[in-house]
């Protein structure tokens, strides 16, 4: 769940745009963020069927430079940087503590002579302090978050929109690649073919000062719908993407969270790697499972039962706008409850049957 920073809420450079669009604003990770504009479900479908744009400027961006950057990040992060040795490539990765618990999930971009790291907003300070406290002298670490705006442009028509803005000579980066663009010949942007919706699309980094211009350019396309964090959450849950704070946190390891694939067996020596290796040999008691309900909407904290025994609680839970049913994640006993099993979710005193499935709930064809 969102952790709220003490003190007044922060605003992204697009705050006034959201308010003038009539968005419902709410606190998220210390920022006042748009939850929905007109209707969450419409924004969800607009992203699945055309283009949704999301202000995710609250997320953290760190820039790492220096001769020691590669060695340092290999030690700090689970995934293997050798897989993104080519300039302009990106990977999903985790940062663990010595107990193998997840400090954050991140995307690392190799932007050529430096690494760009995108972090969860709620973890920005923790991450930066963790990295700083471990960094050797030959690594420079800069928190670029406040001067960087990030807009996710997601959906089957997203690339057409971006290509039109970037000009006829510009070719979109491949998936999990990143490259520069100059929108309308004057707005410099960094365009990454990444996202959190299960749709094709990009995430666009611009200077904070250019955020409003980018946002308005995007909205000038009739196929583009502004979408809030509410739709972002339903979109990501449908495709089985984990949310830090709900599906994983400082009390869970990658193996428990189903993120062993982000910790290559061929890589060792990163912080927490001994725990990951040990749990591969001796699997943990609980793992994250995915539930699909017959009726009703599961919500965070609801009990999950096998017969009379409470076996877990809902981590992420929502109505799935695409499937029209309730979907959820929960940490459940690994041995007893496997995909194909049935459990029950206690929805405010009513027991509802849920099927344990293999993620994702939904795959875009």
């Amino acid at each position: 769940m969102e952790e709220q920073a003490a003190g007044p809420l922060l605003k992204t450079p697009l705050y006034d745009e959201h308010v003038s669009l009539g968005a419902k604003m709410a606190p998220f990770a210390g920022y006042e963020m748009p939850i929905e504009y007109s209707a969450l479900v419409s924004e969800h479908h607009a992203t699945r069927n055309a283009v949704g744009i999301f202000d995710v400027s609250h997320m953290g961006e760190f820039r790492l430079t220096g001769a020691g950057a590669y060695d340092f990040l290999q030690r700090m992060l689970t995934n293997d940087l050798d897989r993104i040795g080519e300039i302009g490539t990106a990977q999903y990765t985790l940062m663990l503590d010595e107990e193998g618990h997840i400090i954050d999930d991140l995307i690392v971009y190799n932007t050529g002579g430096e690494y760009l790291i995108v972090a969860n907003a709620s973890n920005r300070t923790t991450d930066f302090e963790w990295l700083s406290s471990h960094a050797p002298d030959d690594v420079e670490l800069a928190d670029e978050s406040d001067r960087t705006a990030l807009v996710a442009v997601q959906g089957p028509e997203a690339l057409q929109v971006i290509t039109e803005l970037a000009g006829a000579d510009w070719e979109a980066p491949e998936r999990f690649h990143i490259k520069d663009a100059l929108f309308q010949g004057s707005l410099p942007a960094l365009v990454a073919r990444t996202g959190y919706t299960g749709e094709d699309g990009v995430e666009v980094f611009v200077r904070s000062a250019d955020a409003v211009a980018l946002w308005r350019l995007l909205l000038s396309f009739p196929e583009v719908t502004p979408a809030g964090l509410g739709a972002r959450d339903t979109l990501r849950l449908e495709v089985g993407y984990s949310l830090y704070g709900s599906d994983m946190d400082r009390g869970r390891t990658p193996i428990e969270a189903g993120l062993g694939w982000v910790c290559p067996k061929t890589k060792s020596g990163y912080i927490g790697s001994e725990v990951v290796a040990a749990q591969r040999e001796n699997p943990p008691a609980e793992v994250l499972r995915f539930l699909r309900l017959q009726r009703g909407i599961p919500r965070h904290g609801y009990g999950v039962f096998a017969g009379e025994r409470e076996v877990g609680t809902i981590a992420s839970g929502s109505h799935s706008p695409t499937l029209g049913v309730g979907i959820a994640t929960a940490y459940l006993p690994r041995n007893d409850i496997k995909p194909g099993a049935q459990v029950e979710v206690d929805i405010r005193g009513r027991r509802v049957i849920a099927e344990v499935i293999k993620p994702p709930f939904f795959v875009k064809d």
Partner: protein, 125 residues
Amino acid sequence: MAIPAELNYTEDHEWVKIESETAMIGITDYAQDQLGGLVFVNLPAVGDTFAVGAVFGEVESVKSVSELLAPLSGKVIEVNAELESAPETINNDPYGAGWIIKMSVSDPSQTGALLDATAYEALTA
């Protein structure tokens, strides 16, 4: 926000249409707008009885659950079962096709505690 003059209202943003001994019940235009797109409705069974103020059902948007409170004491005589497959009907037509239940009223004197349209409008202003 529409507030039809001929209906009665509660402070919990439900409307009540009283016809002799029966009451048709739904949620107001204001309520549906505040809740946002509804995706699930939990209805009572015909024959269930509720005292005034008791929870007779729930409506859910993606982000929230709201309880439906009986505006009057009585027995459920009909439910709008179409809402189970099309809960968005409440958003689209809260005073018409989006009605939720009909009750037979056990204590007609309770209707005196309901708000009229003017009082409800003042509440939502």
